[in-house]
């Protein structure tokens, strides 16, 4: 029905055999009654990849993220992190990931430092106060705010605590659900730079988003979803921004017009 541009993983990354498949969806499907939220998704994100999922609201981007987080159970197929099925090895797989939602909410009566210390601690990664302060500074949080309660933080500042948490947890994979949505361009750019820093360290990132420019600029791979299906998957450096925009708009057209 859709024109598919399914590129094999080998086409995207020539030296793929040297990389570890950190995030892998195999025939991953989620149904709510008769409604199919995600339809037989096959997806691989290797170490050092930033895979940006684009698509309209309800396309299945967040469902994909939630399935990798084991927040919801798949109807069919499997989501695996570092080769481990997230439904069978929930605890082990969660130790490998860090998650930043669209609007990262922290405990408002705790400071940024206390929140970071808490979430690191329950994730099994304990750090000294100095280390945590260093992580928050490296993640771009103004030093004045480190010991202030989170109820005085902006959204961008909370997202930076999220990045600091990913660093502190030494996450092997990042699951980001529209993390730059609502951020001003400067904060959004800072966030992208932090992602690129983590990419260099080999962190695999799966990011749901709407921003084509940011996807082209930050991502290594771009997928376009529609009605629960991954209909396009391209390497970011193999496509220009206008081509991506054209591909995206084409994909968003009503089904009759597209076919």
């Amino acid at each position: 029905m859709f024109q598919r541009n399914l590129l094999l993983q080998a086409d995207i990354s020539q030296d793929w055999k040297n990389w570890i498949n950190m995030l892998q969806a195999t025939n991953l499907t989620k149904k709510y009654g008769n409604f199919t939220a995600l339809n037989a998704l096959n997806l691989t994100v290797n170490e050092g990849d930033i895979f940006c999922l684009l698509g309209a609201n309800g396309a299945g981007k967040s469902t994909t993220i939630n399935l990798f987080l084991n927040f919801i159970d798949p109807s069919e197929g499997k989501a695996a992190i570092n080769g481990l099925d997230v439904t069978k090895k929930a605890k082990e797989t969660k130790r490998l990931i860090s998650y930043i939602p669209e609007n990262l909410m922290l405990y408002p009566n705790l400071t940024g430092l206390e929140n970071l210390d808490f979430f690191c601690g329950i994730g099994g990664k304990n750090h000294t106060r100095e280390e945590l302060e260093g992580l928050l500074k490296e993640s771009g949080l103004q030093p004045d705010f480190i010991n202030k309660r989170v109820n005085s933080y902006s959204k961008g500042m909370r997202q930076k605590v999220g990045i600091a948490l990913a660093r502190a947890r030494d996450a092997k994979a990042l699951l980001l659900d529209e993390p730059t949505s609502g951020l001003d361009p400067k904060a959004s750019n800072e966030f992208s730079e932090l992602l690129l820093e983590m990419k260099e360290k080999g962190v695999a990132t799966l990011m749901a988003m709407h921003d084509l420019f940011r996807a082209k600029d930050t991502g290594t791979h771009i997928g376009i979803m529609r009605e629960g299906m991954l209909i396009h998957q391209v390497a970011a450096d193999s496509i220009s921004l206008p081509e991506l925009e054209k591909l995206y708009l084409e994909a968003m057209k009503p089904i009759k017009a597209a076919s």
Binding site: G60, L69, D73, Y99, E114, F118, I122
Partner: protein
């Protein structure tokens, strides 16, 4: 992990104005309650000691008189105050503090503190047990009603769950986070009470075993309320619904069920009216030997039996005064009448207690209420125990006096007078309250029900947090 979350919960609560204000209010009320109880107890204890000494002096300073006249003169048995009544005064205010002991009559305890109070007394006193039984559960509800719901409402649940923590561990940590401040408040209260009690003179020995047991009973009570609070929070979709549900549970458990079970007990097993009770006793007494009436048929029969028993022809041939002997036999008949009727009262009391215990299945308040009073020795069982001890002492006292009259005089010698040494030689009323073993033996059903409440609520929490796990999944949008 659990410790980390529990400390986070505690820290968050501390920084929330609602919690801080609640804790300060409860702490102030508790300190006031302990202080007021302490002042009341020391004052009452002093009055008791003085009254007891005066009563004994009055008894011993009687002139030479016929011993049976002394039996009519009578004396008092004073109910001792126990150290833990500082924490739980129980029904002391309503049960009276002393019993007048006299020949032929078993009197009830008199001088109830409640009779000296205004109508406002029915709303309760500011005592430590009131705060521990009613107010601390409210504090638990205010602290924990949104323990789970706020994670959804403030959006922290996703990040929390992405760290790989199970809902059960989360529940245990939240449990500990609520229990910690409650433990601190309760411990401080018991430590303050212990220090005060150790410094009160002539107030009986403070039994730390009983004190520790009472402490444990209250902690189990709070653990049950924490379990219920977290259960409701885990199944509620909104904090407001959780709060309203928990307040309704508090009203039912702490206010409605005790009243309802009391009304039910009175309806199913009613006590006789005071008039009917007295009339029944009077009727039974008249059916037997009256020691003061030598012309009754019962007295004539007893006279004949005595003559036959001792093989004499006339009462003047007996080696003792038959008048004193008859007095004692009449006393024994009356004692049996009282024993029978009070046994019926006790039976009604036991039947009513069974209804209370059955009601405890619907309210954890009830077993704790009864255990607390029992351990403080301020419940109705303790009062019955004291009243029985006073009755035994009365019978022994009257027996001593009547037999002195019978042995030391001859038939018809009503002019006989015992000297003052007799009054002094009669031992004063001493009463040992039931031991801890006896108290537990009498209250094992309450202990069992409380234990079941704890286990059932803990199991309920475990089951409902699994449902919360599913609830999380339902909250995820596509």
């Amino acid at each position: 992990m659990i410790r980390k979350i529990a400390l986070k919960e505690f820290k968050e609560n501390l920084r929330e104005g609602r919690f801080t204000v609640s804790v300060v209010i409860v702490s102030v009320l508790l300190i006031m309650g302990v202080w007021l109880s302490y002042n009341y107890l020391t004052s009452v204890q002093k009055q008791h000691a003085e009254a007891k000494e005066n009563a004994r002096n009055v008894w011993e300073s009687q002139d030479e008189k016929n011993p049976h006249s002394a039996a009519h003169y009578g004396t008092y048995a004073f109910k001792p105050k126990y150290p833990l009544s500082l924490i739980d005064p129980g029904v002391d205010k309503f049960s009276g503090i002393s019993i007048f002991l006299e020949a032929h009559k078993r009197n009830e305890a008199q001088y109830m503190a409640a009779s000296d109070q205004t109508g406002l007394a029915r709303f309760g006193d500011l005592t430590p047990d009131f705060i521990m039984l009613f107010i601390i559960p409210l504090l638990i509800i205010l602290t924990g009603y949104n323990a789970f719901t706020r994670e959804i409402e403030q959006g922290t649940l996703k990040l929390l769950k992405s760290q790989g923590i199970s809902s059960w561990k989360l529940a245990l940590a939240k449990w500990a986070g609520i229990f910690l401040p409650v433990l601190i408040i309760t411990t401080v209260l018991f430590v303050i009470a212990s220090i005060l009690l150790m410094n009160i003179k002539d107030f009986g020995e403070l039994n730390f075993g009983v004190l520790s047991l009472m402490f444990l009973v209250y902690l189990v009570y709070y653990a049950i309320f924490i379990n219920i609070t977290l259960m409701i929070s885990a199944v509620s979709k909104q904090s407001g619904i959780s709060l309203v549900s928990l307040l309704a549970i508090w009203i039912i458990a702490c206010l409605a069920m005790p009243k309802a079970s009391s009304n039910l007990a009175d309806t199913v097993y009613p006590y006789p009216s005071r008039q009917a009770f007295a009339a029944d006793i009077d009727k039974d007494k008249k059916a037997g030997l009256d020691g003061h009436n030598p012309w009754s048929q019962a007295a004539k029969d007893f006279e004949r039996e005595t003559l036959e028993k001792y093989g004499v022809d006339s009462l003047s041939q007996l080696h003792f005064n038959f008048d004193g002997y008859r007095m004692q036999r009449g006393e024994e008949h009356e004692a049996q009448v009282y024993f029978k009727h009070y046994a019926e009262l006790k039976n009604t009391f036991r039947n009513q207690s069974r209804i209370y215990q059955a009601s405890a299945v619907a309210s954890p308040f009830l077993p704790v209420r009864f255990l607390s009073m029992a351990l403080a020795r301020t419940d109705y069982s303790a009062h019955w125990d004291f009243a029985d001890a006073a009755e035994n002492y009365r019978l022994s006292l009257i027996d001593t006096l009547n037999m002195n009259f019978a042995i030391n005089s001859s038939y018809g010698d009503w002019a006989y007078k015992a000297d003052r040494s007799l009054w002094k030689n009669v031992p004063d009323f001493e009463y040992d309250s039931p031991s801890l073993g006896d108290i537990i033996d009498r209250n094992w059903t309450n202990v069992l029900i409380l234990g079941l409440w704890f286990l059932a609520s803990f199991a309920g929490l475990k089951i409902l947090t699994q449902r919360y796990e599913k609830e999380i999944k339902l909250h995820q949008s596509i």
